[in-house]
Symmetry: C2
Subunit: 226 residues, 2 copies
DNA sequence: GTCTATACCCAGATAGAC
DNA sequence: GTCTATCTGGGTATAGAC
């Protein structure tokens, strides 16, 4: 990824000036990873303003002053977390690149892939959701530059399928909005879903049920059932 | 609603001790409404920790000290806002009470009703979403007591439809999760949706398109197309 | 009910010794 | 790189005059 045109660009945390990776940079990487992991979890659960850097530092196992040595400000840290999440997200958002040669199998892979991402990275999903709900202050440009081009391709693909009579004539935009919403809800709204299902938390089988429901309903709903 | 068993109960803001409503209580009600409206907007956009009571007061057109006269603490104010939102939400969540005598028309009304709520009260939707994402600290009990009973009835209804062979054998829980997610996304994720559609904000026609897409896809997807 | 003033606290960030 | 100490600003809330 080209750092120069990256709207979320920040000073590289790794060896920008100190040319060669040394022994110590390995320890540094490990510390940074632990901090980033702790930060992702806490930002997801409480939002940017709901966590103190002290809480993050404690979760990562160091003092807040020491953490500020690695990430000189809270915003800087948040940007790192956000960038990791976004790169992962945008990658999974390309329908065109999904496996399968028929429209049905491509769409099925897309839905299950997005659902799997929700299962594996619920905290990332929540951070993304928080960001969008708050008007996407940090990531608007990022989405514009990275998401829209991929999505345009995908929209065109779906339109082609419709033109070719392979599926119902539905609005392709709203199809994507629905897939995003239904898959991400299992991460973002897991509290409510678990509550409704009388569980403490969602299990793998719940995601399997969700996958079955979503692929059946959406594919059939747009006239793509095999 | 019985205040005594209400998990979000709070001291009544109106005449608890001063017995009779007087002239001044009218002015008070007006002030309170303006404060609540301002608070709902700002809490929705920035989250509980992202707004200061000063910002809310300014938006409502009074000093923060004066606002604290009406709502003696930030949390107290938030509870009021949240309670208004929740009552509205739970009401619209009952499928059983929807118009229509066929499963298809009942479900259609339900989807369009939820979508309409997103259009008319996007801020309420965002506050609700924020609350759930953060683990629903304030509203878990509320959902348990108010939402679950209604939902149980609705789940039973859908199961009956399936037993009667009126629709596909899909998991009723996930059907509701999908409807909630797809309708609320137009409020919660409006920033992203508008961005993708190259607009500044969503218009009525976008909601009509969404309604067409959702009713077509979901009804057909569960085997309920007329 | 509305104002001025202020107490109080917490969080982000910096300075400097080691 | 890690520590102790400290500065600073902003935010909630209260006191008390009018």
């Amino acid at each position: 990824m080209d750092e120069n045109t990256d709207p979320l660009a920040m000073k590289a945390s790794s060896d920008g000036d100190t040319a060669k990776p040394r022994k110590r940079s390995i320890a540094r990487k490990a510390q940074e990873s632990r901090i980033l992991e702790a930060a992702e979890m806490l930002f997801a659960q409480y939002g940017y303003n709901g966590v103190s850097i002290e809480a993050i530092a404690e979760q990562a196992g160091l003092s807040k002053q020491n953490m500020l040595y690695y990430f000189p400000s809270k915003e800087y840290l948040y940007h790192h977390v956000l960038k990791n999440v976004l790169d992962l997200w945008i990658d999974k958002m390309a329908l065109f690149e999904q496996a399968g040669d028929t429209p049905a199998s491509k769409l099925r892979s897309y839905i299950l892939g997005k659902l799997e991402l929700s299962r594996l990275r619920p905290n990332g999903s929540k951070i993304f959701a928080n960001e969008i709900i708050n008007g996407a202050p940090y990531i608007k440009e990022y989405l514009q530059q990275k998401l829209l081009p991929k999505l345009d391709t995908d929209i065109a693909l779906v339109k082609q399928w419709i033109t070719d009579g392979l599926m119902d004539s539905v609005d392709p935009y709203h199809l994507f909005f629905s897939i995003w919403a239904t898959t991400q809800t299992y991460a973002d709204f897991s509290t409510q879903i678990a509550l409704v299902m009388h569980k403490d938390s969602l299990e793998t089988t719940d995601y399997e049920d969700a996958g079955r429901f979503l692929t059946h309903t959406i594919l059939k709903g747009v006239g793509l059932s095999e």
